[in-house]
């Protein structure tokens, strides 16, 4: 209960004071903050404040109390956007590394293949797909129908179902209807016109499941076939109109009996000097340099 003259209150602070002083027969009744009679009150007041503060703190852990609701509101209002960004970034880095390993056909020991996903958010796989409208082998840019979802710095799988390679986005230039994606390095493969796409994830999501390519390593090469995927073997046989080998020449090779012979070697023997009974001779290669 408040006194009308608060200046006469015993000063109090929230601390647990050890012992409450008892007034002795030798104590003179002197007022003031340091007056012996007031020391006992001060100690009791301190304890009271201390106990009150403790009660408030305890109340914050009890749902429904004002303190609880206040703290809950503070937590709910915390901005964790930057934290999300950091997590996403770390996941992108991890995803890029995994994609690089997959592109190099490197899998953990004991596994014959690996599925990789590059999360942009912790709760979903980035299924960004961009249709490529123009791609030329050797060029470091590709045009896409829409650059929506493509993130600078991210790695993507570029494929037309036949050839495939990993590319990294360096920058994106949008001018009018042209959406040009500049890559960190030139495109290596050639892609069928109108079929190439950029995929962020190499995992396909359908029927509620994730699927990854798995049979590439078990495919075997067959003569006269070319393939770069599991089910995309293509004939490379062609027919020529040559009726004899006379008009058919291959640089660095010879044509004999219908066969192209590559890299036929030639060896020579040089007479280094005359005399010495049997002369001095040296075996040489086609260029006139010594052989062993």
């Amino acid at each position: 209960m408040a006194d009308e003259n608060t200046t006469t209150y015993v000063p109090e602070k929230s601390e647990w004071t050890e012992g409450v002083r008892m007034i002795t027969t030798a104590d003179a009744v002197v007022g003031g903050v340091d007056g012996p009679p007031n020391k006992a009150y001060a100690a009791l007041a301190n304890r009271t404040v201390y106990l009150k503060d403790l009660c408030v703190k305890l109340a914050a852990s009890i749902p429904g109390t004002e303190e609880f609701e206040k703290i809950y509101a503070e937590i709910a209002n915390l901005d964790v956007t930057k934290l999300d960004g950091r997590v996403d970034h770390l996941e992108r880095l991890t995803g890029n590394i995994m994609l690089s390993l997959q592109a190099a056909n490197m899998s953990p020991t004991g596994y014959d293949s690996m599925m990789t996903e590059t999360f942009d958010n912790a709760e979903e796989i980035d299924q960004t797909i961009a249709t490529v409208t123009s791609v030329v082998s050797g060029d470091d840019s590709i045009d896409v129908s829409s650059a929506s979802g493509i993130v600078i710095g991210n790695h993507y799988q570029l494929t037309d179902g036949e050839a495939q390679e990993e590319v990294q986005v360096k920058s994106i230039n949008i001018a009018g209807t042209t959406n040009r994606v500049i890559l960190e390095s030139p495109v290596v493969n050639q892609y069928a016109a109108g079929k190439a796409k950029l995929y962020r994830s190499s995992v396909a999501i359908y029927n509620g499941r994730a699927y990854g390519g798995g049979s590439i390593k078990t495919d075997t090469w067959e003569p006269k076939k070319s393939f770069s995927g599991a089910t995309t073997a293509q004939d490379v046989t062609t027919t020529t109109n040559y009726t004899s080998t006379a008009g058919f020449e291959v640089d660095g090779a010879t044509v004999e009996a219908g066969k192209i012979i590559l890299g036929a070697a030639a060896f020579g023997i040089a007479m280094v000097s005359q005399g010495s009974t049997a002369g001095v001779w040296q075996k040489v290669d086609e260029n006139g340099d010594d052989l062993a």
Partner: protein, 305 residues
């Protein structure tokens, strides 16, 4: 780089075969080029003979693999010096006494006597100077020296007479008595007077006159590289210069200079030791001459389809 000739063509393709009952050795076709070491090379300006099992720029097929102007995949050479197989036919078999005391013409006839039909009974002939040279270039390149006697064995070159075929250590890739034992008569090289004539280099077996008179006897220092219509002496190993002193020679063997109308003998007999060898030629006897130390060797073209 070191060459393993056992797995390198054409050497790797040299093998024994039996044709019409005769022991033969198959020599696969190869191509040759002659010239000087290219500018900037280790052997710049040096005379070089190159061999390749496939045709390459600047190379031509060795004439031993041309028959009537057409390339043949190989030729067969007798594994042994010829023996008298009866019916005037020359044969090639182990353990036989070499057929000697025949003129060059008789040796040609004895070989051709095997041509009684087609296929295995066709294409038999006395070895030619080109077939000798084909073996010489392969030996020279394989061993890096013309001194085959040091590298392989002396052969029967210092004794009192010929031994039965297959009985000496002068054996190169299956070919026995490759030098020594008895001289071998050679077709396609003779003297018009003392002027050198050789078979044309298109496989037509017609003689062309080189206009060259080979040197007198001595140790060869170098060989002809002259060319003309239908001949290129770089394909052969016919001495162009000689020296009287063995140590001034370059081929480790001796050369007997030409007599008028000379025949060509190859390899040496059982008498003169290291003067004989894989590069030894004797132009010192007439075509009509015979001797107990002079024999010959069968050869055969494959059937060209």
């Amino acid at each position: 780089m070191s060459i393993d000739f056992n797995v390198t063509a054409p050497w790797s393709g040299i093998c024994d075969v039996t044709v019409d009952g005769q022991a033969m050795v198959k020599i696969p076709k190869f191509y040759v080029k002659y010239g000087l070491g290219p500018s900037g090379s280790k052997r710049e300006g040096k005379s070089i003979r190159w061999v390749s099992d496939h045709k390459k720029e600047g190379f031509h097929v060795h004439p031993a693999f041309l028959k009537d102007g057409v390339e043949i995949p190989y030729f067969l050479i007798g594994k042994y010096e010829a023996y008298n197989a009866g019916s005037s036919k020359a044969g090639s078999a182990v353990g036989q006494s070499p057929w000697v005391n025949v003129t060059t013409a008789a040796a040609i006839s004895a070989c051709a006597a095997r041509n009684t039909g087609t296929g295995d009974q066709a294409g038999w002939h006395l070895q030619t100077i080109y077939e000798v040279a084909a073996r010489q270039i392969l030996m020279l390149l394989e061993y890096g020296t013309p001194d085959m006697q040091t590298k392989i064995g002396n052969g029967n070159v210092s004794s009192s007479g010929a031994v039965a075929t297959g009985g000496t250590n002068a054996k190169w890739r299956g070919i026995c008595e490759a030098w020594g034992n008895v001289w071998e008569q050679v077709d396609g090289c003779k003297g018009n007077g003392t002027t050198l004539q050789v078979f044309d280099n298109k496989g037509n077996r017609t003689y062309v006159d080189t206009g060259l008179i080979p040197p007198a006897s001595g140790y060869p220092k170098d060989t002809y590289t002259n060319t003309g219509a239908n001949y290129d002496l770089s394909d052969l190993f016919i001495p162009s210069t000689v020296d009287a002193t063995a140590s001034n020679g370059s081929f480790s063997d001796y050369f007997w200079g030409p007599v008028s109308g000379f025949a060509c003998y190859y390899g040496g007999n059982w008498v003169n030791g290291t003067q004989y060898g894989a590069f030894c030629l004797d132009f010192g006897n007439a075509l009509s001459s015979t001797d107990s130390s002079v024999g010959f060797r069968l050869a055969k073209y494959p059937t060209v389809s």
